[in-house]
Amino acid sequence: MTQPRQEVLQKLTPVLTKRWLSPDAWQIGVYEQLDGYRAIRKALDVHPDDLIQLIKDSGLRGRGGAGFPTGLKWGFIPQGDGKPHYLVINADEGEPGTCKDLPLMTYDPHSLVEGAIIASYAIRANRAFIYIRGEAVHAARRLRNAVQEAYAKGYLGKNILGSGFDLDLVVHSGAGAYICGEETALLDSLEGFRGQPRLRPPFPAIAGLYASPTVVNNVGTIASVPYIVLGGADWWKSMGTEKSSGPMIYSLSGRVVNPGQYECGLGITLRELIELAGGMQPGHNLKFWTPGGSSTPLLTAEHIDTPMDFEGVAAAGSILGTTAMQIFSDQDCPVYNTWRWLEFYHHESCGKCTPCREGNYWMVRTYRRILAGHGTVKDLDTLQDTADNIFGRSFCGLGDGAATPVVSTLKWFRDDYLGYIEGRTAPRLSEKSLVGAH
C-alpha cells in the first residue's frame, strides 16, 4: 500500500462523516457533545421560508442519484393548502455498490434525525418517515434508538424545544426491494401497497404520500441540512465546484487496497480517490469503473481524471449517480460483471412495464449463453438492440439502469464479448446454469 500524498489527503473534507470514527457518536449524549442538535435550535428560530432559501442558496443537490436541487424541491410544496405535508427520507440504498447511507445511519443516526426535524419544519410537515431497507437491520436498530432518544429529549414530539413545532418521526423497514428506492414506489410501499412506481404527474410535491404534498429526499441530502444551517450557505459552497457544491461521500469498492467511504468536495478525480484508498491492489490495473452505481454508464481507465461532480461526469458521458465507485481491473471481466448486474436487475424488476420485465428476462439468458460459450456475434447486435428498446422506453429508471451496463460494456469492451464467442476466453458458466430458473 502506498501512502497518499499530503496534497491529496488534504482533499478529504469530513463533514457528514466527521463523527463516524468517534466512539459512540450514535448515542445522543455523545452526539450532543459533538455539535449535535445545535442546528435545530438555530433553525427553529427562523422562518421556514428562510430555511428553504438557505438551502437554495447553498446549492445543495440531492444525494439520491439524480442530483435535483433540494431547495427547489422543498419550494414546490404548496403552502397554506390545508393539507398535511410529509417528509419521507429515502434510506432504501439499493443501488449496487452504494454504501454511504447505511454507515451514516449506523454511526451517526442523530444527524439524520436532526436533519429530518429541520427539513420538516421548513416544509411544514408534522410527520416524517424514514423508509429503510429491510436487510439493514443494524442500521435500523440504531436509527430507532436515536429516534427514541430524540423523543425522550424533546427533540421530537409535541412543541419541540418550546418552538410550538410538532413532529413525529417514524422509521419504517421495507421488505428488501430495490424498486422501493424509486420514490413513488417507495410511497406506495409505505402506504402498504405493492411497491411499484406511480404514474407522474401528479408529482409527490403535489400528491405524494396519502395524496398529500410530500418531499422525498435521500439520507445524505437530509443529513447535510444541519451542517448548512450551522455553517451557512457560503461555507457549504466553499467545498465542491460552482454547480456541484459541498462535500460528497464517495464509496469505493473493488480492486483498491482500502475500500470504504471517502468524503471530499465534489469534483475530485478517481485518480485522487484511488490514491486516498491506498492505490490499486497489487497486480491490478484499472480497467473499468462505475462512477455512481451500476445504473450509470461505465467509464474506463482513460476517464481516471474526470472531475467527479455532476457536470464533469456528465461530460464524460455518464452520471454521477450515488458516487458508488466500483473499481475493476484487468483481471475482471466486463461481460461477467454485466451479467451479474443483469441478474440483479432482472430479480429486482417490479414487472410493471414490458421493456424492463421482458427485456431483462431475455438479456439475462443471452448473457448466460454467451458466458457458457454458446454466444454468437448476432447475439451482440440483438443485445444492443434490446438494450436500446429498454432504455428510455421503460416506466421508471430501473429499466434504464439495467440497459446501461449492457450498452457501455458493448461500447468499450466488445472484444471481451468476442472472446467468449470465438472461444478465446474460457466459458465462465457451465451448461447447467443455462437451464435457468425464472
Binding site: H346, G351, C353, T354, R357, R369, I390, R393, G436
Partner: protein, 832 residues
C-alpha cells in the same frame, strides 16, 4: 402554427403534421384516435385511469428526450407529436415493445378463444416482426387455473396490462385479483394461501387453501371482455367457437331493470356468448355476470316447444296441436269469463307483450284483474284492500322519465331506500360508484345494514329496522337534509311496497325537498309493464281506469264497445290469488310467473290448483305449467324482437337474435283473441309499437300520490327478531336455474345477526342459526353483522334460504330465532 378556432378550454397541437384542436386534459392517444391514427396499445382503456404500463403506445413528442406513452400524456398547447406514422423513433419503440411482449407469449393462437379478435394478434401483425430473435426458453405456467368457477386464467398468455385488476378495483370495487410476485414472474392471481406458505399446491384450483378467495365479483365477466389477450376466459365459452364463425346481434339484457345493452353472438342457431354492449348513456361498456352468462335457460332441456292440454280422460297433460290448444284456451277462458278471469303477467315481458296482456284482459276478458307484480305487494298480514303501491306507481312512476344514469353520476347527493343496488340493479350500482369515486357523490342509504355493495359506494347508513323505513323517510332530518341540494335524488326500490306508508312518505319527501324521485324495480319487464297497463288501476299509457275520457278514447282506438273496459280498478296479484284460491275466479291466465316469487307461494299454488281453468304461457316447465289446463309455449328473449324499459323509463329495443318459429306472448294472445272474435293486433312488434305510439294521451292531471300513514317496525319479543331480506343478484331465480358455473360465483347464503342476538343465542360467526315462523324454518351459518338490535337478515331466494316458501313471510315480519340444528345435508357435510 396557424390559429384554428378553439374555445378557452381547448388547445391546439400537431399530430403527424396535422393541426388539431383538443380538449384540455385529453390524452394524446384519444386525440390521435379521433384523427384516425391507430396507436397500438394494451393497457389503455378509455374507461379506466391511465396506467402507462405496457409501453406499447410510445410516440415522439418534440422537446422530450425519450419517447412518451401517448395513453398517459395529456395534450398541451403547441405540442408536436409524431406517431409511428411519421417518426422512425416511435415506430422503432413500438416494434421493440411488441417484440418484447411476444418473447414470452405462447403460440396458442390456434386454440385460443381470443384468436381472431385479439388485440395482440392484430397489433403483432401491424407492429411486430415476422420472425423472432428470441432463442431462449419461454416462461411457463400451469395452463389455465380457475380463479372462480366461472373465470379461468392462463398466465402464459397474460401481457400484464392490468386492465382486469384496474377494472376490478376502480370500477367494480372488487379487488379480488391483483398482481403477485415481480419481474418476469409477475402474474395476476387471486389470494391463495400457498402464496404465503399455506396449504395448496401452488398451481391448482383456487379453493385448495382454506383462506383462498375466489374472483367472485358480480362483474368478473367484464375482465374477460377487456383482456386484450386470451388470458382470461369464461367457462361457458371456452373452446366453443371462433369469433369469425359467430354472428353478432345487438340485444338488450332481459334480466333486470338496469337495461344493459348487449351483444349476443350465435353460431348455427345457438347462442354461444353475450358481451356487454357499448352504451355510454346506460351501461357504458360494462354489464353484470348474470346478464353475461345467464342465457342458458333458453336451451334448457325442459324448454317447452309444443302446446299441451290436459286430457279430459286421463287428467294428464298431453301434447297438442296449436289449433287444438288455442281453441281449448279460448273456450275455457270464454266459459270462465262470467265468473271472472285473473291475469298474472310477471315482470319479464317486453313492453309489447305486456301491452298484449293488458289489452287482452280489457278487451277479451273485460277485466282489470291484471297485475305484473310477481312479488309481495304489501307487508305480511296487511289487509289486501290497501292499494298504496299501485297508487304510487300511478302517481309517481307511470309515464314519468325524470331521472337518468347521467343524473345519478352527477348528483351531489343520493338517498337510497329499499334498494341494495349491487344486488338489485348492478349497473345503477356501477354508476353510483362512479359518481362516488370520481365526483364525490354523497350516498345515504336507509337500510338494515351497510352491505358490501353499499360500502363500495361510500354510503352513509341510516339504520332502519325493517318496517321503520316509512317513519324514517317521513321524519329523519339527515335524510331530508341529504336531499336538500339541487340535483339530489331519492331512489327507492320495489321492496318499499312491503312497508306501509313508505312509498307515500317517499313521494312526499321528494315533493317536500324538491329532489327527483326514481323507482327501481328488479326485473327487466317491470317498468314497461306499468306503462303498458298491466296493473289493475292503470290502462296503457298510464291512464287511470277510472278516467272515463281515457277509457272512451281507448275503446275507440281499440274498436271495442263502450262498457267493455271496466271503469273500476281490478284485483291486484294478492287479491287475484286469493280469489282464485277461494273459488271466486273462473280462470287464470298466467304468463311467466313463478309462484315461489309471490308473497305466499303455498297459497299461490293452492290457487293454481283450485282455479277451474288455468292457461299458462311459458317457456319452460314450471310450477304453473304442471298445473295448467292449457300450456302455450312462447319465445325466449333471443328468439323474438321487443323492447324493455329500464328503471329510467328508457326504451331498450332489440331484434330477434335467432330465427325461430317460437311465438311471442302477444302473438299467442292475438290468436286466442281471434278465436273469440276480438282483433287484438299484437302479433307483430312493429304493429304494437305503432299502436302504442298512436294511443290518445291522457287528459287528466296525474293521479294524486297516496298518503298512507307511516307504520312503525314490529316489536319482537324474547327470542324473536324482525326479518330483513332482499334478493342476491345470483340466486335461485328461474332464469339462472341449472347454471352451476354461474351459481358457483354467488355469495354464500348466510343469516346475518347482530352482536346482541349472537350473544343471547350463544353463537359465533359460522355457527348455525335457525330462523322460523309457524310455516317453517331456515337454517344457515350466522354472519355477525352490524345490524340494529333484534334484526335478522336472510337472502330472499338463495340455496337453503327460500324465505317466502319456507317462512311464508316477507321483510318486516317477526320471526323466531334459535341456535341452529343442521338439516340433513349440512349435517352430512359436517360429518365429512
Amino acid at each position: 402554427m396557424t390559429d384554428v378556432q378553439k374555445r378557452a378550454d381547448q388547445v391546439s397541437l400537431i399530430i403527424d403534421g396535422v393541426e388539431v384542436v383538443a380538449e384540455k386534459g385529453e390524452l394524446v392517444i384519444r386525440v390521435a384516435e379521433r384523427m384516425g391514427i391507430a396507436i397500438p396499445r394494451f393497457c389503455d382503456h378509455p374507461l379506466l385511469a391511465p396506467a402507462g404500463a405496457c409501453r406499447q403506445c410510445l410516440v415522439e413528442v418534440e422537446g422530450q428526450r425519450k419517447p412518451v406513452a401517448s395513453c398517459t400524456q395529456t395534450v398541451a398547447e403547441g405540442m408536436v407529436v409524431k406517431t409511428q406514422l411519421s417518426s422512425p423513433v416511435a415506430a422503432k419503440a413500438q416494434a421493440g415493445v411488441m417484440e418484447l411482449l411476444l418473447i414470452n407469449h405462447p403460440l396458442d393462437c390456434p386454440t385460443c378463444d381470443k384468436g381472431g379478435e385479439c388485440p395482440l394478434q392484430n397489433q403483432a401483425m401491424s407492429t411486430g416482426r415476422a420472425d423472432s430473435r428470441f432463442k431462449e426458453e419461454k416462461r411457463e405456467y400451469e395452463k389455465p387455473i380457475h380463479i372462480s368457477s366461472q373465470v379461468l386464467l392462463d398466465r402464459e398468455r397474460c401481457v400484464l396490462c392490468q386492465r382486469c385488476t384496474r377494472f376490478s378495483e376502480e370500477i367494480a370495487g372488487d379487488k379480488f385479483i391483483d398482481l403477485m410476485d415481480r419481474s418476469s414472474g409477475e402474474q395476476i392471481n387471486v389470494y391463495r394461501d400457498d402464496f404465503f406458505g399455506g396449504a395448496g399446491t401452488g398451481d391448482g384450483q383456487v379453493g385448495e387453501g382454506e383462506g383462498d378467495v375466489a374472483f367472485n365479483s358480480y362483474f368478473s365477466g367484464n375482465t374477460i371482455q377487456i383482456c386484450p389477450v386470451g388470458a382470461l376466459t369464461g367457462e361457458q365459452y371456452r373452446f366453443r367457437a371462433r369469433p369469425f364463425d359467430l354472428v353478432s346481434t345487438p340485444s338488450a339484457c332481459e334480466h333486470c331493470a338496469s337495461g344493459c345493452s348487449q351483444r349476443t353472438d350465435h353460431r348455427r342457431g345457438k347462442v354461444l356468448r353475450r358481451l356487454a354492449g357499448d352504451d355510454p348513456a346506460v351501461n357504458e361498456e360494462w354489464n353484470c355476470d348474470k346478464g353475461r352468462w345467464g342465457f342458458r335457460y333458453a336451451t334448457a332441456t325442459d324448454r317447452i316447444l309444443t302446446p299441451q292440454i290436459r286430457d279430459t280422460k286421463t287428467g294428464e297433460l298431453r301434447e297438442a296441436s296449436w289449433s287444438e290448444a288455442l281453441l281449448a284456451a279460448a273456450e275455457g277462458l270464454k266459459a270462465a269469463k262470467e265468473r271472472g278471469v285473473g291475469v298474472l303477467t310477471g315482470g319479464r315481458l317486453t313492453v309489447e307483450d305486456a301491452y298484449a296482456y293488458a289489452k287482452f284482459a280489457r278487451t277479451v276478458l273485460g277485466t282489470n284483474d291484471v297485475d305484473f307484480r310477481a312479488r309481495p305487494l304489501r307487508a305480511t298480514g296487511s289487509p289486501v284492500t290497501t292499494t298504496e303501491e299501485a297508487d304510487f306507481l300511478a302517481a309517481a312512476v307511470a309515464g314519468i322519465t325524470e331521472v337518468t344514469y347521467e343524473q345519478v353520476e352527477n348528483a351531489p347527493s343520493v338517498v337510497l331506500a329499499g334498494l341494495e343496488p349491487e344486488e338489485e340493479s348492478p349497473i345503477l350500482f356501477l354508476r353510483l360508484r362512479k359518481g362516488h369515486i370520481r365526483r364525490k357523490l354523497r350516498v345515504t342509504a336507509v337500510s338494515a345494514y351497510l352491505s358490501r355493495g353499499l360500502e363500495k359506494i361510500g354510503a352513509a347508513l341510516v339504520a332502519a329496522v325493517p318496517g321503520d323505513e316509512a317513519h324514517i323517510l317521513a321524519s329523519d332530518a339527515a335524510v331530508a337534509e341529504a336531499l336538500g341540494a339541487p340535483g339530489a335524488l331519492l331512489i327507492v326500490g320495489e321492496r318499499l311496497a312491503t312497508v306501509p306508508g313508505a312509498l307515500s312518505a317517499a313521494a312526499d319527501l321528494a315533493a317536500r325537498t324538491g329532489a327527483k324521485l326514481a323507482w327501481v324495480p328488479r326485473r327487466a319487464g317491470d317498468r314497461g309493464a306499468i306503462d303498458a297497463g298491466c296493473l289493475p288501476n292503470l290502462l296503457p299509457g298510464g291512464r287511470p281506469v277510472t278516467d272515463d275520457a281515457a277509457r272512451a278514447a281507448l275503446s275507440l282506438a281499440w274498436k271495442v264497445d263502450a262498457g267493455v273496459v271496466p271503469g273500476t280498478p281490478g284485483r291486484d296479484t294478492d287479491r287475484i290469488i286469493a280469489a282464485a284460491a277461494d273459488g271466486t275466479l273462473g280462470a287464470l291466465l298466467v304468463g311467466g310467473v313463478d309462484p315461489a316469487d309471490l308473497a305466499d307461494p303455498t297459497l299461490a299454488e293452492n290457487a293454481l290448483d283450485t282455479v277451474p281453468f288455468l292457461v299458462s304461457l311459458e317457456m319452460r316447465q314450471s310450477a304453473v305449467t304442471r298445473r295448467a289446463d292449457v300450456v302455450l309455449p312462447i319465445a325466449p328473449a333471443v328468439e323474438k324482437a321487443g323492447t324493455y324499459m329500464d328503471w329510467e323509463g328508457r326504451l331498450r329495443s332489440f331484434g330477434a337474435v335467432l330465427k325461430s318459429t317460437a311465438m311471442t306472448d302477444g302473438r299467442v294472445l292475438e290468436a286466442i283473441a281471434a278465436l273469440l272474435d276480438v282483433s287484438l293486433n299484437t302479433g307483430d312488434v312493429n304493429a304494437v309499437r305503432r299502436e302504442l305510439g298512436g294511443l290518445p294521451g291522457s287528459t287528466l292531471p296525474s293521479p294524486v300520490r297516496p298518503s298512507v300513514a307511516a307504520a312503525r317496525a314490529a316489536q319482537p319479543a324474547e327470542n324473536q327478531a324482525v326479518l330483513a331480506t332482499w334478493h342476491q343478484l345470483i340466486d335461485l331465480g328461474s332464469l339462472l336455474d341449472g347454471d352451476q358455473v354461474l351459481a358457483g360465483t354467488a355469495r354464500p347464503p348466510v343469516a346475518r345477526i347482530g352482536k346482541d342476538l349472537a350473544e343471547s343465542l350463544g353463537l359465533a360467526d359460522g355457527d348455525l342459526v335457525t330462523v322460523g315462523t309457524d310455516r317453517g324454518s331456515i337454517t344457515l351459518p350466522a354472519a355477525i353483522t352490524d345490524l340494529p338490535p333484534r334484526v335478522v337478515w336472510l337472502p330472499t331466494n338463495s340455496p337453503g334460504s327460500t324465505v317466502r316458501r319456507s317462512l311464508g313471510v316477507t321483510a318486516g315480519a317477526v320471526v323466531t330465532l334459535t341456535a341452529g340444528v343442521p338439516g340433513p345435508i349440512l349435517a352430512e357435510e359436517a360429518a365429512r
